[in-house]
Symmetry: C2
């Protein structure tokens, strides 16, 4: 894997880059659709690709539990199993153990947790997480980290950060397949000194990219931007910077302004299934009554499959009737919205007017 | 609308035909996928068309209740609303009132029933059913009929048949759009004399097609075939014969042998969503354990999108994980299976060997 910065905006630190992987090129800044269980919910790979996505994210935790990483390895790896020939990033499972599993027990050795499927007991260590991701064969492998909730003490945040760093050292010692690259994850909760320290001590482990974890977990937007501001001058300029779990338009624009190159989030497809479209003004709750007889597209300026072929009234009907295609059409639209947003961002950076773009974009954005 | 018989099999009464509509040609014998609520569950129109379908069925009862036929008429009609440029057949609502609505009250005037959505009280008459179908703008409009359960008395079956005939007379008196055609529905429960009488008294109302209703509702296969045998010599040879609610391979093959040209059923897509594939041998329960590590396609001889790109193991994983795409892939396969079956049937008829085809097909079919 290789990263190339094509242009850095003269108005800001925002960069346009390109990641070269064995499964194609990724133009950055980019948004990565989430396909938790080896499928972006409801969409064929061709539909995902048609939105402009070049990389999808999948989840080690879910795939380890079902259908199992050995099965996927036997199938020829995750790309072949799910029929996606673009790039894949797998997260390490740390976040899912934190957010989905009850009765988790964390020690230096790793995390013990209950399966969200049947309650059975499992154990993840840094070694185990990397072994699973090696079996899956993703292009970008995430380090196994300990996530912490906002508003914990400095001491607890330091403990978790130190553990994450010890785990990173163990992750880095594990073998990967030749096309795979390990991304360390910077933690440190909401403490500037810990974030700084975590970055400086993680960077030596980064070969082609680095991630910022533990943000967008309940803290204010200002706090998140503050942490990104702390990190921006420290991050290696010759590597992509991945802000984990962020996928609303305003956060993406603010993140890019702070040197972030990669984003992912379940939100765009999750709110789609609940009947909400992403537009330049924020969110459009298509399932609401005002759209019942609205025979215009979700967004007349959008070139996605849904906007070219269907009306708000029809999509609302599908959502109200619990028809799968409602969420599918909105998922296509929301992913295309973010692909167009990141394409617009790249264009603005190339033209050295990203701060103007950001100001104009946020002026119309109501969230 | 116009129907043309291209060939009648010298071995049997089976026919190959072609229906010409304002929304394209339909090769018969054909299977019509069901898109109850103005969408074939989970599939884009392009995906439905790619399976080979030339006509879909939609439901007057459901669309009248939600989103409402006036809304669909305002949208430019059902074809435009759901983005399907092929032909559409709408059923009359009689069957759905019978099968979905509690507290229905049937009189000569029509049927009073409770909405399956909110329990609100509604009334369907022959005039109302046709008015709704006119607003929807389907190509084939079904007469409003009274369905009866198997094992009722001859007297009750005659009463319902007589009512259906009176309703047919009222349906036929209603105006339609110029591209629309009304199909009468032959009833008469499981009584040969009533079926005969219903056919003879319905045929004068048929302008371009006729349907057989009230079969495949719980009676034995033998009883259904017996009723079809009674009807076959009576049905107008220059019109398509539509056997309502039938969609398994064996019934289709047996129906074609008895002069049936059109079929529809929710079964192929419903069992798909439950994890079952249709194959020449019958049904393959992909969700079962034996397929967990089966890295072959559903059917190696099938040319559908699912079989060209995915393994049984992957589809099983999606079904087990409640991922929409599992049911979507199996829906595509099952619809393609029936489109290939009817194409094979047409070929065998053209080659005057349909009875041989039928014998060979049923010999391997285990149901």
């Amino acid at each position: 894997m290789r990263f190339e910065v094509l242009h850095t905006c003269k108005q800001s630190g925002a960069r346009v880059g390109r990641i070269y992987t064995d499964h194609g090129v990724i133009d950055t800044p980019c948004f990565m659709p989430v396909g938790t269980k080896a499928t972006v919910k409801g969409l064929n790979p061709e539909e995902v690709k048609a939105t402009g996505a070049q990389i999808v994210l999948s989840n080690t935790y879910h795939l380890y539990l079902r259908p199992g990483h050995e099965l996927i390895e036997k199938a020829g790896g995750l790309h072949k199993f799910m029929n996606w020939d673009g790039a894949i990033l797998t997260d390490s499972g740390g976040f899912q153990v934190f957010s989905l599993s009850s009765l988790r027990k964390i020690s230096d050795e790793g995390m013990e947790f209950n399966s969200f499927i049947d309650g059975s007991r499992h154990f993840f260590s840094p070694e185990k997480s990397i072994a699973v991701q090696r079996a899956l064969g993703s292009d970008i492998v995430m380090a196994f980290d300990e996530l912490t909730a906002p508003e914990i003490s400095h001491e607890k945040a330091r403990d978790a950060m130190e553990r994450t760093l010890r785990w990173l050292d163990r992750c880095a010692a594990q073998p990967l397949k030749s096309h795979q690259t390990l991304f360390p994850i910077i933690q440190g909760n909401m403490f500037a000194d810990l974030r700084r320290e975590s970055a400086l001590r993680s960077i030596p482990y980064a070969t082609c990219g680095i991630a910022i974890g533990g943000l967008s977990v309940g803290e204010t937007a200002e706090k998140m931007y503050e942490m990104l501001d702390v990190l921006q001058p420290l991050l290696p300029p010759d590597m992509p910077h991945y802000l984990m779990g962020v996928g609303t338009a305003d956060y993406i624009v603010e993140g890019v302004a702070r040197g972030v190159d990669m984003f992912d989030c379940v939100l765009p497809t999750r709110i789609a299934r609940n009947g909400t479209a992403m537009v330049k003004q924020g969110f459009l709750t298509i399932r609401n009554q005002p759209f019942a007889e609205d025979f215009t597209p979700i967004d007349p300026d959008c070139d996605c499959y849904a906007c070219r072929n269907y009306t708000r009234a029809y999509i609302r009907h599908l959502i109200k009737a619990d028809e799968i295609n409602g969420g599918r059409l909105l998922s296509v639209h929301n992913l295309r919205f973010l692909a167009r947003l990141t394409a617009d961002i790249r264009k603005a950076i190339f033209e050295d007017r990203f701060l103007d773009f950001k100001r104009e974009f946020l002026a119309q954005y109501e969230g």
